[in-house]
Subunit: 499 residues, 2 copies
C-alpha cells in the first residue's frame, strides 16, 4: 500500500513496460469516482449525527472506509468550489470570484459570461494521460457558454446541465436551463426534464444514477480505467426526489432527496462490488458547500453543530461531509483528523493515476493518500475566501477570522438569512467587520461552533496568532489572482456576448 | 427474545419453580448496569457526530448495541432527572421541583432541606424483590440529609457523594461536600478527595471505575444478579480528569474528562465480556441533562445541532445520548426511533427483573424492551417541565412550547447564558413568554434545532395542535403534584432543620 503513495507514475511505468515486453496486461490504475453533493451539509448524514439517521448506505460506506470530520470546501458556493475540485486550485487563482463588491459571493446565473478559462488544467484532461475515460453526470457550473462546456475541458462524456436547476423561467427573456448529452442539448429543466415545484417530484436522480451505472459497466467491459464525476443536485433548492422516495423521510422533502441520494450511492457501491472492481475503484463522497439554511427547514439541510451555512465562511458554510472508500486499500472504519480540502481530490486523483500535478502553476491540493493509507497527518492551512477577500484561515485547531460578515443588512431585512437562529454577537454580523489587525480566533476543537472567541489578552491567542501570521503572509505575497470570471453583467451585456 | 418482553415475572417464576423442584439453578435475571453521565450533551459522542471523535469505546458500544437518537431526560437539571430515573416518575410527582418561582429550576445545594420522600419507591428497593444486590457509585443528589441517603432508599452499597462537587467552601459556614462509603462519611471533596481547580486533575473517575469493577466481580463470584447505578460526575463543572488523560483531548479539559469516561466504559464492558456475563447483563448509557453551555467551551460540552443547553427545555437541555447494550439479546448496530425517556429505565429494569411497576401510583416510564428486542414503536408524549410549570410537550415529530424562557434578564446581564450563540427571535427569550393559547410548534424531524416555528395559519400547525391538545389536557387533569422538595430556604432555616 505504501508504494501507491510514494511511487508517482508507477502505474504508468508498469503499463508501458508491460506493453513493450508483450506480457500479460499490467494492473490498471484504480478507477476514480467522485460523488459530489449539492448544498448537502455536514450534519445531514447519520454518521455525522443527523438525528433521524436516514443515510444507511453512506453510514455503511463510512464503516467500510475512512471518515474525514475536518474536510473543507474551497468556497461556500457551488461554482467556485467545483472549479477548485477540478483544478486543485483556490478559486481566486482560477478566476472563480468577483470583483463586483468586497467579500461578495458570486456564482453563475445566466447573467454571467465567464467560465473556466482555457488556461486552467482540469482533472479529466490530465487523467487522459494515464488512459482514463471520463464522464461528468449532473451539474457543471463552470460556465454555460459552449466554449466552457465539459467536453471542451477534458471530459469524454457528459449528461447534465451547465447550470443549476434555477427557474422555471419564462422561456423568452430567460429561457429554462438546458440539459446536455455531450455537446447536444437534449432538453430543458421544467420541460423535457420536469421538476414539480409543488410536490417536489422529479426523476432526475434516477436518470443520473442510471447514467453512472451504465458508464461504469461500459468501462469495466472495455477494461478501461475510468474517472466518473457524479455531480448530482437533488439537495439544492428547489429540492426534489422521485416518487418512490417522496414523503418517506422524517425530515420532509429535503430528507426525501437525501434518502434517494443515499440509496443511489448504495447502488453504485454495490455495482462496483458485483462487478468485482471495488478493490480497484477509489470512491470519495463530499459536498460542494454547507447546507443552505435560507432554504431550511423544508428545502435546506443541517450543518450539525457548526455556525451558519452556505454563502458564509463560518464552519457551517465550509466544512463538508467526506468519506473515502477503497476496499482493501483504505483501512475500514477509520477516522482521519487530516485537515482536508476539496482541492485535495485533484491531487489525490492524479497520484492514484500515477501522475504528478502540473508544475507550472500553484496547486493548493495535497495528496491525501499518505493520510488514507498510512495515517500520516500533514499540517496545512485552510483558506476561506469570499470573492477575492481572504475572510479567515484555519491552521491546526485554530481559526482566525480577518473579516466577519454573513449577509448584508439589506438582504437580512428582506428575510434572507444565512445563519437563522445563530446570532453570535460580533461574529455573525450584517455589516462587514474588519479584524485584520487583531483577528477573531476560535479553537475549533473546544468550540467547533465558533461561539467563544479567544481572549485577545490570552497567551493562547498570541501563540495561535504567531503561528498563523507568517502562513497568511506567505500565502498573500505569493498569490496571483486569475481574471475574475464571475462579475455580474447586466442582461444586455450577457446577450451581446453570447450571441 | 420475544418472551422477555411479554412474560412479565417469568424470570421469577422460573427461579421459584426451579427452587421447588430442587433442579439445577435456573438462569438469573440479567444484571442491570445504568451508566449515568453528568451534564454530558447529545453532541459529545463520536456516534452523535462530535467532530473530534474521541469516544471510541462508546461508539463501539453503539455498534454492538442500539442507539436512541430521540431519548429525553425528565428535567434539564441534575437532581430532578435523577429522581425521575430511580422512581420512573416525573419530578413534579415525586416533589423534585420548586414553588419558589414560576418556571424556576431548582437543584440541591446545601440550602435545600428536602430530598427523596419515604413515600417514593425507588428502583433498587423494588429490584430487591427479585434478589438483586445494588450499588450506587458517584453522585446521589436526592437529598443530602441522612434520612434521604441511598442506603435508606434501597441501595445495598454506596460510594460517592450526596451532592455535586461544588465548592470548595470555607469549611466553616459552608463545609466542603462529603463523600460516603455506605453510611460512613469517608472524607470531603477538595480535602481527602482532591480536585485541582487550576489543572483539573482529580482521580475520582478512577476511584469510581474501581468501585464498579470490584462490585461486578464480587457479585459475579457470588452468583447474585446485580443492579449497578454508575453516576459519575467528571463532566460537570468544575470538570476533571486523572493525570494520564489531562491534555490528551483535542477539545480541552472537558474533552479530557470525556476521554477518561469513555475509557472507563470500555473497561467495564470488557470486564463483563471477560467474566462471560455480557449476555446476561443489560447496560444502558445516558446523561442526566444536556451540556451546560454556560461552562463552554473549556468546561462545557456540546449539544450537537440542538438549541440551548442545561437548565432549558429546548432540545439542547433535554435530549440525551442513549445507548442500550445487551449482546445476544438487543440486535447490534440498530437505531431506534422510539421517543425514550430516562424514566423508562425504571420500568425497563423492572421488566428485565420480571417485576411489575407499582400500581398504586402514576408511573411515567415505559418498558423499552419491545422497542429494543422487537423494534416495536410506541407513541407517547415527552413532557418538559421547569419547576412545576409545563413548558412544552413532544408527541411524535411535533414539539409544542407553552412557555419559552431561557434565563432571566438579570442573569443574562451578569453573563449567565444557557444558549450562547443561539438567539432565535421569540424563542430564546429572557422573559417568560406565554404561548398556552397558541403554542409555538416545531417539527423536530425537519428542524431539530427549533429554529423555524410552524406558521400558526398552516394546516400542519392545526393538525399537530389537534393531536397534542387532548394529550396535554389528560396529563394535566390527572396530575397530582408531590410536596415540593427543592424550595430554597435561607441558611438559617437550613441549619435549624438539619440540626
Amino acid at each position: 500500500m505504501a508504494a501507491v503513495a510514494v511511487a508517482t507514475r508507477w502505474w504508468l511505468l508498469l503499463m508501458l513496460s508491460a506493453a513493450e515486453l508483450g506480457v500479460a496486461p499490467a494492473p490498471q490504475p484504480p478507477n476514480i469516482l467522485l460523488l459530489l453533493m449539492d448544498d448537502m451539509g455536514w450534519g445531514d448524514l447519520g454518521v455525522y449525527g443527523e438525528p433521524s439517521r436516514e443515510t444507511p448506505n453512506l453510514d455503511q460506506m463510512a464503516t467500510e472506509g475512512m471518515l474525514f470530520p475536518n474536510f473543507y470546501t474551497a468556497n461556500p458556493l457551488c461554482s467556485p468550489s467545483r472549479a477548485a475540485l477540478l483544478t486543485g486550485r483556490l478559486p481566486i487563482r482560477s478566476g472563480f470570484y468577483t470583483t463586483n463588491g468586497h467579500a461578495r459571493n458570486a456564482y453563475t446565473p445566466q447573467e454571467i459570461v465567464g467560465g473556466i478559462p482555457d488556461s486552467e488544467l482540469l482533472l479529466p484532461a490530465l487523467l487522459k494521460g494515464a488512459g482514463y475515460a471520463s464522464k461528468i453526470v449532473g451539474k457543471w457550473h463552470l460556465g454555460h457558454r459552449p466554449q466552457f462546456h465539459p467536453l471542451k475541458h477534458g471530459f469524454d462524456e457528459w449528461f447534465g446541465s451547465p447550470n443549476c436547476h434555477f427557474g422555471p423561467y419564462d422561456n423568452k427573456a430567460r429561457p429554462n436551463i438546458p440539459v446536455y448529452r455531450d455537446q447536444e442539448m437534449v432538453g430543458r429543466f421544467y420541460e423535457e426534464f420536469p421538476i414539480n415545484l409543488k410536490t417536489g417530484e422529479a426523476n432526475l436522480t434516477q436518470i443520473y444514477l442510471q447514467e453512472a451505472l451504465e458508464f461504469i459497466q461500459r468501462q469495466q467491459a472495455a477494461h478501461r480505467p475510468f474517472f466518473l464525476y457524479w455531480a448530482v443536485d437533488a439537495t439544492h433548492a428547489p429540492v426534489y426526489a422521485s416518487k418512490p422516495f417522496l414523503g418517506t423521510s422524517q425530515r420532509g422533502r429535503y430528507g426525501d432527496a437525501i434518502r434517494e441520494l443515499d440509496d443511489s450511492v448504495g447502488r453504485i457501491l454495490r455495482l462496483l462490488q458485483d462487478l468485482g472492481i471495488a478493490e480497484n475503484t477509489f470512491v470519495f463522497f463530499t459536498s460542494d458547500n454547507g447546507a443552505a439554511l435560507i432554504s431550511a427547514p423544508r428545502q435546506g439541510g443541517s450543518n450539525g453543530p457548526f455556525l451558519c451555512g452556505k454563502q458564509t465562511t463560518f464552519e457551517g458554510g465550509m466544512r463538508e461531509p467526506a468519506i473515502a472508500w477503497w476496499p482493501g486499500h483504505i483501512p475500514a472504519g477509520q477516522v482521519s483528523h487530516q485537515l482536508g480540502s476539496i482541492m485535495d481530490l485533484f491531487t489525490t486523483s492524479l497520484s492514484l493515476a500515477g501522475l504528478e500535478p502540473p508544475r507550472d502553476r500553484a496547486i493548493d491540493g495535497l495528496d491525501l493518500l499518505p493520510a488514507m493509507l498510512q495515517g500520516r497527518l500533514t499540517d496545512r492551512p485552510i483558506f476561506y475566501y469570499r470573492g477575492n477577500t481572504l475572510m479567515a484561515v484555519t491552521l491546526g485547531q485554530y481559526k482566525a477570522h480577518f473579516w466577519t460578515w454573513t449577509n448584508s443588512w439589506e438582504e437580512f431585512k428582506q428575510g434572507i438569512d444565512f445563519c437563522p437562529g445563530q446570532n453570535v454577537s460580533g461574529v455573525t454580523t450584517h455589516s462587514q467587520e474588519e479584524h485584520t489587525k487583531l483577528p477573531l480566533i476560535f479553537h475549533l476543537g473546544r468550540d467547533p461552533g465558533e461561539r467563544f472567541p479567544l481572549s485577545i489578552a490570552s497567551i493562547e491567542y498570541l501563540d495561535a496568532l504567531r503561528r498563523i501570521t507568517p502562513v497568511v503572509q506567505q500565502h498573500q505575497e505569493a498569490l496571483v489572482p486569475g481574471q475574475p470570471q464571475l462579475n455580474v453583467c447586466n442582461r444586455a451585456v450577457m446577450h451581446t456576448v453570447s450571441r
